[in-house]
Symmetry: C2
DNA sequence: GCTTGCCATTAACATTTGTTAATAAGCGGT
DNA sequence: ACCGCTTATTAACAAATGTTAATGGCAAGC
């Protein structure tokens, strides 16, 4: 499991074994079942997470009570950074397991300290931050300037297998359309 | 002008005079004319900015050649953080002056060093980061779950005076609609 | 004062997307 | 294997938004 974390990090920004050692010592492991909301909006959260197994999403609930998907998180990736998803250690988003999942976690405060002390870890974290922000801007552009059909095509390129693994309702709200529209577009794109 | 920068900072996250002194020493001042693109995508940029006067926008250009507005920046605020808008000191976005503008700037590398050395400045910067990210998520939610009319109403609440100061084309692309649709919604909301 | 160019509005029509409701299909638990 | 629940599809219609094109207003420069 620790090896998996190391691979995740090195895929994003390779760091030395010494630098990884400092992280490794702080790792904890957690599992959740499909459907579990493991981070709640307005609740305390003080962790950084590595996604080892399974699929999860971040989401919000709109005034109608519907879940609006913000992002998906696949295996072998970093869950949205603590600094991006919390304010004063209070979560701004919900996170839910869409399948059974395994996470590695690390105390965010301690991780921040590692960033300050160690330039490799700082560079790694900044790379993660960059990637996440670029992804957000890309999604923003998509929502602002593409048709729903084009957004679905982009989604398929970015998350090749997801469409067959998770409820379409989650995908539809991510794309900013209803699940009925998604169904129509799927049919349309079959030809 | 330096006093204005101090006020901007203190409105976001109050810092001591000593902490501000470290920033103050590094400030430079710049002015641009209405229509100037002062940061270009794929070009080098190594600065943090304070917006002292005037209005600007960040944008991208889509495959059709249209400018898509990402964000607006008002007087007495922080321009999008360097860490959010660049990768390896290369800008991911264009920035354009929508009126004549005055900016204060500071070298991003030096500012990052101040963040590492000084917890007040780090807290200030993290607050700015938080605010910007929350704003991005809010916009994302809006695009994904509100109608164009509702988005216009939200826009008017967030940027009260902007609608009468800048071209509607810029607002329309920010809202993810055509300027014709914007015109229709404006008429509709008059009743 | 006139012209030029840019931008906002309006109209007419086409297309996309939403809404409601009925049906079908898949899936988990017993 | 069956039942019951959730989710996906389809249809019919309504509403929202896009497209193209024509019109009008307004400000900058001559």
């Amino acid at each position: 499991m620790k090896e998996t974390v190391k691979n995740i990090i090195n895929t994003i920004y390779p760091i030395s074994n010494q630098a990884f050692g400092a992280i490794e010592k702080l790792l904890k492991f957690e599992t959740y079942s499909k459907g579990d909301t493991f981070i709640s909006r307005n609740k305390r959260n003080e962790k950084e997470y590595f996604a080892l197994k399974g699929i999860s999403k971040s989401y919000l609930i709109n005034p109608d009570g519907d879940e609006i998907t913000i992002s998906f998180f696949l295996e072998n990736s970093i869950l949205s950074l603590h600094s991006i998803r919390t304010s004063n250690n209070i979560s701004n988003l919900y996170f839910k397991a869409l399948t059974d999942i395994e996470l590695a976690s690390i105390n965010a405060k301690k991780f921040e300290q590692l960033m300050i002390e160690n330039i490799e870890i700082r560079n790694f974290a900044n790379t993660v931050l960059q990637n996440e922000l670029i992804s957000k801007v890309e999604k923003e552009i998509g929502l602002a300037s593409l048709s729903a059909k084009e957004r679905l095509i982009e989604f398929r390129n970015k998350y090749r297998l997801l469409e067959n693994l998770i409820p379409h309702t989650d995908i539809a709200s991510y794309l900013g359309i209803t699940n009925i529209s998604l169904s129509r577009l799927r049919k349309d794109l079959m030809n």
